[in-house]
C-alpha cells in the first residue's frame, strides 16, 4: 500500500446528494499490481466510490489521483481507467469484436491495429472464434469475459469491477472469480473491485476495504479482517460470529450470564465488552466439560459439517462441527469449550 504512484489515490473524498451523504471523507490507495476490494452491504457507498474513480460521478469534495495525476475534474472518457459493469453493458448491436475494438477506436487508434489488439485479448480470455457473434448469442460466462476483454484492451492504469459475478450462477461464480484473480496476478493489473459478497472478497483480494454508511469501517488483508475484526459490525459481516455482550475484568476474564472464562484481551480496557467467537472455533463436549454447559436446541446436518444451536448462559451459540462426526441430538445436554486465543474481545 506504500507505492500508489501507478494506482489509485483516493484522498478525503466525499459525495453528497443534496442533504444525503453517500460517501463521507473516504481515503484509501490501491498500489500498482494490487487487487483491492470495496466490500459492504448495499447502500454503503461502495459503488458510488467506484463510480467516482471511473469518473461516472463527480466528487463533492476531495481529490482523486490515478497514476499520480489529479483527475478529480476529468470526465470518465478522459481517465485512464476502464470498468467491467455488473450488467456487462455490452453493446447489443455490435459483435464481440466490435465491442472489444470500441475503446481503441475511441482513442483514434488505427482500425487494423485495434482489431489486432482485440484479437490478442480475446484469445487470452479463451474467446477466439466468437468474434463475429452478437452478445445475445453468448452464454453469461462468455459475456462476462467479453466485458473483461473490452476493458483490458485499453491496458488502463486501473481496472474497475462492479459486482462482476452477480449475474452468474453459483457454480460459475467460483470459477470466474479464480480466473479474474489469476489474470490479475499474471498481468499484475491494478484492480479495484466492488462486491457485497464477503466470501468473494476474501477469495480474490490483496486488500479489503469494508464500508459502512459511507465510511470505511476497516481495511486490511483478508486474514486480518477475518481474524481481527475491529468492531461488532465487522465481526458479524465477515464470516459467521457469535456475539456475546458482557464484562471484562482486569485479570482478562470475560463474564456474562454469571459464567466467567479466561480470554486474550489484546489491550482492550476492562469494562463492558462484546465477545466475538467464530462458530468453528467452538467445540461441543460432553455435559459438564468445557467452559459453558448447555442444551442442543437445533441440529442441522449439512454434509460437510453439522451446525448446532446451543442454549447456554451466554445465550444461544452457533457451533460448527467441521468433522460432522459428533452425533448429538436435540435436547441433549452438552458442554461448549474454546481456546482463549480463539475469541476476539471488542470494546463496546
Amino acid at each position: 500500500m506504500t507505492d500508489s504512484s501507478g494506482g489509485v489515490d483516493f484522498d478525503r473524498v466525499s459525495k453528497r446528494y443534496g442533504s444525503v451523504t453517500a460517501v463521507d471523507d473516504v481515503s484509501f490507495s490501491v498500489a500498482q499490481g494490487e487487487l483491492v476490494t470495496l466490500l459492504g452491504p448495499s447502500g454503503c457507498g461502495k459503488t458510488t466510490t467506484l463510480r467516482m474513480v471511473a469518473g461516472l460521478e463527480a466528487v463533492t469534495s476531495g481529490v482523486v489521483r490515478i497514476g499520480g495525476t489529479d483527475v478529480t475534474l476529468r470526465a470518465a472518457n478522459e481517465r485512464d481507467v476502464s470498468m467491467v459493469f455488473q450488467s456487462y453493458a455490452l453493446f447489443p448491436h455490435m459483435t464481440v469484436l466490435e465491442n472489444v475494438c470500441y475503446g481503441p477506436i475511441s482513442m483514434r487508434m488505427d482500425k487494423a491495429k485495434a482489431r489486432e489488439l482485440a484479437h490478442a485479448k480475446l484469445g487470452m480470455l479463451g474467446l477466439a472464434g466468437l468474434e463475429a457473434r452478437l452478445p445475445s448469442e453468448l452464454s453469461g460466462g462468455q459475456q462476462q469475459r467479453v466485458a473483461v476483454a473490452r476493458s483490458l484492451v485499453l491496458e488502463p492504469a486501473v481496472l474497475l469491477f462492479d459486482e462482476p459475478l452477480s449475474n452468474l450462477d453459483a457454480k460459475l461464480r467460483r470459477r470466474v472469480r479464480q480466473e479474474i484473480r489469476e489474470l490479475q496476478q499474471l498481468l499484475s493489473l491494478t484492480v479495484l473491485y466492488v462486491t457485497h459478497d464477503q466470501e468473494e472478497a476474501l477469495a480474490v483480494s490483496d486488500h479489503i476495504i469494508v464500508m459502512e454508511n459511507g465510511r470505511i469501517a476497516q481495511q486490511g488483508t483478508p486474514h486480518e479482517l477475518y481474524e481481527a475484526p475491529a468492531s461488532r459490525f465487522l465481526a458479524d459481516f465477515i464470516g459467521d460470529a457469535n456475539l456475546v455482550d458482557g464484562e471484562l475484568s482486569p485479570d482478562a476474564s470475560f463474564s456474562a450470564g454469571g459464567i466467567a472464562a479466561p480470554v486474550r484481551a489484546d489491550g482492550v480496557r476492562p469494562g463492558a465488552v462484546t465477545l466475538a467467537v467464530r462458530p468453528q472455533r467452538l467445540r461441543l463436549t460432553d455435559a459438564g466439560q468445557g467452559a459453558l454447559s448447555g442444551t442442543c436446541k437445533r441440529v442441522a446436518y449439512l454434509g460437510s459439517r453439522i451446525e448446532y444451536v446451543v442454549e447456554t448462559a451466554w445465550g444461544e451459540l452457533l457451533v460448527f462441527d467441521q468433522e460432522a462426526r459428533s452425533a448429538r441430538r436435540r435436547d441433549d445436554a452438552v458442554g461448549v469449550a474454546f481456546d482463549r486465543d480463539a475469541v476476539i474481545v471488542l470494546p463496546r
Partner: protein, 706 residues
C-alpha cells in the same frame, strides 16, 4: 441558475476547447462575409462600415469571443457570445418592421454564437461540464422559445390592440367576453350559442361518444379472441393515414342534400331532402368516426393490461360474468376511460378539417379563428381573442388530465406474466358490443369506399355514377412530350410541395425530438424539468392557434418567414416534435444507462456515444418518429391552412379549396391519392423496421446496477 449549477459537483475539462474556437470563428466569418439581411445585400461588417452603429457591439463581441475562447477564458467567452446574441435580438426586435429581416448571415452567426455560449457555460460547469449536452439543450430551448412561445405570446398580445395598432385593453375584455363567444341562448330555446359554448358542447358529445365506441371496439377485439385482431390493425392505421376532412367528405357524399342515402330515402320513403348534416349532427358524426380509433387504442391498451388473473380470482369467488365485469373490469378501466374522453375532447376542440366542411352555420372556435383572419372581416385582434379561448379550453383539459388521471391509474401489470385467458363478457353486453362494432365498422368501410370509388365516377356527390378518369386527369394529368414529362394536372404542384415539406421536416422532427429525449432521460442538469415541459408544450396547443400565431409573428421583420417553404417546415417540426420526444423517452427507458457509461469509460466522447451506441439502438423509435411526422405533415390542415400560399400550396389545403369551390369529385380523387401515398410509405417503413428487428436478435438481459 448558473450559481446553483456551479455549487453542484461537476467535471470541468482541462484544456482549451477547440470546438468553441471553431464555432466562434464561424460566427465571425458569417458576420464578415454573408449577407446579414433576408433580402441579401451587405454583411454585418459591411453594414457597420457603412454607418450602422448597432452592428459594432455584435462584431466586437464576436471577435473578442474568438480571442477569449483561444485563451480558454470561458467566463468571458460565455458573456461575450451570450451578450452578442441578446444585443442583436434586442436591436432587431426594437426596430421591428423598420429594420432588416434576419438572413443567412444573421441566422448562421447567431446560431454559432448561441452554441459558443452553450459550450462556454458548460466549461464553466453548467450541464455537468458536458459541452455537447449544453449545446443540445440551449439550441433546442432557444428554438422552442423562438418558434412556439414567441409566436403564441405575440398573437395573444394582439388581442390587446385594435386593428389600427392602438393599445386597447378594454377592447380585449370586450372581445373575450362577448356573447358571440360565451352566449348560451341556444340552451334556453334561442337560436344560437357562442362559439366557445358550441365547441365545448361538441367536444363533450364527441368525447363521450368516441370513448364509448372505443370501449366497444376494445371489448370486442380484446375479449373476442384472435378473430378480430384485424380490426386492431385497421383501427391503428386508419387515423394515421386519413386527412382530417376525408370522413366529412364521405358523409357529404352519403347524407348531403344531394347525397346517395338522402336520394334513396327521398325516392323510396318520401323523406324530403334536407340539410340536417350541416351543423352539429354532421360534425359530431364525422368526429366520432375520426376520433373513436384514438379512444380505442387507449382503451385497448388498458384492457390488455388488466391481468386475467384478477377476473379469474373474482370468478373463483363465485361472481357471475356480469358481476365480474361490474366489480372488477369496469372500475379498473375508469382511468383509461377518463383519459380517452379527455383526449377525444381535446382532439374535437382542435379539429379543423371536419368543421370546415360540415359545420355550416354551427360555428366552432377553430373555424371561427380561421375566418377571422382569412375571411372578409380580417380582424386579427378577434382571432387572437378566440385563439386565447381555444388555448385556454385545451390547456384546461390537459391540466385536468394531469391532475386527475395521474392519481387515478391502477397498476395491474406486475412484470411477471400472469397466465390465464381473458374472461368472456356477459352475453348481453357482448351482443350489444358486437352489434355496435359491426355496424360502425361497416359505416367506416362505406366511408372509405366512397373516397376510393368517388374519384372514378363522374359526380358521386350528385349520384352520377358514370365511370370516368376525368378527375384524375384534371388533378394528375401528365403530358409525355419529347422534351420530357410535363406534370400538367392541377394537383401536382401541391402534392410535390407536400411531399417535399414532409420529407424535409420528418428527419428534423426526429432529430430534435430524439436529441431532446436523450438529454432529458440521460443527463441531469439544472432546469431539466423546465426543458422537458418546454419540449412537450406544443402538444397542447391547437393547430389553429399555432397557425394564427405564425401568421402574426412571422409576417414582419426581423423574422419574416411567411410565404416561404421554411415556415411550413418549421411549423411541422415544432408541432410534431413532442411525439418524437415521447417515442425517444419510451425507447431510451428500454436501453440500460450503463451502456452509455460503458461507452464513456471506453474513452468515447458524448458525440461518439450518441452516434455509435444510442442512435443505432434507437433505430425503431427513429423510424416510428419519421413515419409519424411524415404522415402528419401530409395530413395536417389546421395550422398550415394559414401558412400555405399559392406558390407553396399543400395537398390538404388544396383539397379544402376544392371542397369550398364545390368540386367534390376532384377533392375525393386527391384524397384517395394522398391516402395511397401514405399507405405505401407506411408499408415500406414497416418492412424496413421489421427487417431491422429480425436482423438483430434480442438484446441481452439489461439489468440495472445498484
Amino acid at each position: 441558475m448558473a450559481a446553483t449549477a456551479l455549487a453542484s459537483p461537476v467535471f470541468v475539462p482541462a484544456a482549451r476547447d477547440r470546438a468553441t474556437i471553431v464555432v466562434a470563428g464561424t460566427a465571425v466569418l458569417a458576420l464578415a462575409m454573408l449577407p446579414w439581411a433576408l433580402a441579401g445585400g451587405p454583411s454585418a461588417l459591411a453594414r457597420a462600415l457603412a454607418g450602422d452603429a448597432t452592428a459594432w457591439p455584435l462584431l466586437v463581441a464576436a471577435a473578442l469571443a474568438v480571442v477569449t475562447a483561444w485563451r480558454g477564458v470561458d467566463r468571458a467567452t460565455a458573456a461575450l457570445a451570450g451578450g452578442a446574441v441578446l444585443w442583436s435580438l434586442a436591436v432587431a426586435f426594437a426596430a421591428g418592421q423598420n429594420g432588416p429581416s434576419f438572413g443567412l448571415g444573421a441566422a448562421l452567426a447567431l446560431t454559432a454564437l448561441t452554441i459558443c455560449f452553450a459550450r462556454a457555460i458548460a466549461r464553466r460547469g453548467v450541464f455537468a461540464g458536458d459541452p455537447t449536452v449544453a449545446t443540445i439543450v440551449v439550441v433546442i430551448a432557444a428554438l422552442l422559445v423562438l418558434f412556439i412561445f414567441f409566436p403564441v405570446a405575440k398573437s395573444l398580445v394582439a388581442a390587446l390592440f385594435d386593428n389600427r395598432g392602438g393599445f386597447a385593453p378594454q377592447l380585449a375584455v370586450q372581445r373575450l367576453f362577448t356573447a358571440d363567444i360565451w352566449g348560451v341562448a341556444c340552451l334556453s330555446g334561442g337560436t344560437r350559442c357562442g362559439v366557445a359554448i358550441n365547441s365545448a358542447m361538441l367536444a363533450t358529445i364527441v368525447g363521450v361518444g368516441a370513448t364509448l365506441l372505443g370501449l366497444v371496439f376494445a371489448l370486442v377485439v380484446q375479449r373476442g379472441g384472435r378473430r378480430y385482431a384485424g380490426i386492431l390493425k385497421l383501427m391503428s392505421i386508419l387515423p394515421i393515414v386519413t386527412p382530417p376532412f376525408v370522413i366529412a367528405l364521405a358523409l357529404v357524399v352519403l347524407f348531403g342534400r344531394t347525397g346517395l342515402v338522402t336520394g334513396w330515402l327521398d325516392s323510396w320513403f318520401g323523406i324530403p331532402r334536407s340539410r340536417w348534416l350541416y351543423g352539429l349532427p354532421g360534425v359530431t358524426l364525422a368526429q366520432l368516426l375520426t376520433f373513436s380509433p384514438i379512444a380505442f387504442m387507449i382503451l385497448y391498451g388498458a384492457l390488455a393490461a388488466i391481468s386475467p388473473a384478477l377476473e379469474e380470482a373474482a370468478q373463483t369467488l363465485r361472481a357471475s360474468r356480469a358481476r365480474v365485469f361490474r366489480t372488477v373490469t369496469w372500475p379498473l378501466l375508469r382511468p383509461a376511460l377518463a383519459n380517452a374522453f379527455l383526449l377525444s375532447f381535446v382532439e374535437s376542440l382542435a379539429d379543423f378539417g371536419n368543421p370546415i366542411v360540415l359545420a355550416g352555420n354551427f360555428e366552432v372556435l377553430s373555424t371561427k379563428i380561421f375566418f377571422a383572419v382569412a375571411g372578409a372581416q380580417h380582424d386579427p385582434g378577434r382571432a387572437a381573442a378566440l385563439a386565447a379561448v381555444l388555448l385556454g379550453l385545451t390547456l384546461l383539459a390537459f391540466w385536468l388530465q394531469q391532475r386527475w388521471i395521474g392519481k387515478l391509474s391502477y397498476v395491474t401489470v406486475s412484470g411477471k406474466g400472469d397466465g390465464g385467458i381473458p374472461g368472456k363478457l356477459p352475453r348481453s353486453l357482448w351482443y350489444a358490443c358486437f352489434g355496435t362494432a359491426a355496424f360502425w365498422i361497416f359505416f367506416t368501410l362505406v366511408c372509405y369506399a366512397i373516397i376510393l370509388v368517388g374519384g372514378f365516377v363522374k359526380d358521386i356527390g350528385r349520384g352520377d355514377m358514370t365511370l370516368t378518369l376525368h378527375h384524375f386527369a384534371q388533378g394528375f394529368g401528365m403530358d409525355f412530350q419529347s422534351k420530357g414529362t410535363m406534370f400538367s394536372g392541377s394537383a401536382w404542384d401541391s402534392l410535390f410541395t407536400t411531399i417535399e415539406v414532409a420529407a424535409v421536416s420528418a428527419p428534423l422532427t426526429a432529430a430534435i425530438g430524439l436529441l431532446s429525449a436523450y438529454v432529458i432521460t440521460r443527463h441531469r442538469f439544472v432546469g431539466r424539468r423546465a426543458f422537458e415541459f418546454l419540449t412537450m408544450v406544443s402538444f397542447a396547443i391547437p393547430g389553429t392557434v399555432i397557425g394564427v400565431s405564425y401568421i402574426v409573428a412571422f409576417n414582419v421583420a426581423p423574422l419574416e418567414l411567411t410565404g416561404g417553404m421554411a415556415i411550413l417546415v418549421l411549423c411541422f417540426v415544432f408541432r410534431n416534435m413532442p411525439v418524437g420526444v415521447r417515442a425517444g423517452v419510451a425507447a431510451l427507458a428500454q436501453i440500460d444507462k450503463t451502456l452509455d457509461e460503458a461507452s464513456s469509460t471506453l474513452r468515447a466522447s458524448t458525440v461518439r456515444t450518441l452516434t455509435e451506441v444510442i442512435v443505432p439502438l434507437l433505430r425503431p423509435a427513429i423510424l416510428a418518429t419519421l413515419v409519424f411526422s411524415f404522415t402528419h405533415a401530409m395530413t395536417a390542415v389546421s395550422a398550415v391552412i394559414f401558412l400555405a400560399t399559392a406558390k407553396y400550396n399543400l395537398a390538404t389545403v388544396y383539397i379544402i379549396g376544392r371542397v369550398e369551390a364545390g368540386e367534390y369529385p376532384l377533392a375525393i380523387a386527391y384524397s384517395s391519392v394522398l391516402i395511397l401515398v401514405m399507405l405505401v410509405a407506411l408499408i415500406v417503413v414497416q418492412m424496413f423496421v421489421g427487417e431491422a428487428r429480425l436482423g438483430r436478435r434480442a438484446p441481452p438481459v439489461l439489468a440495472t446496477g445498484n
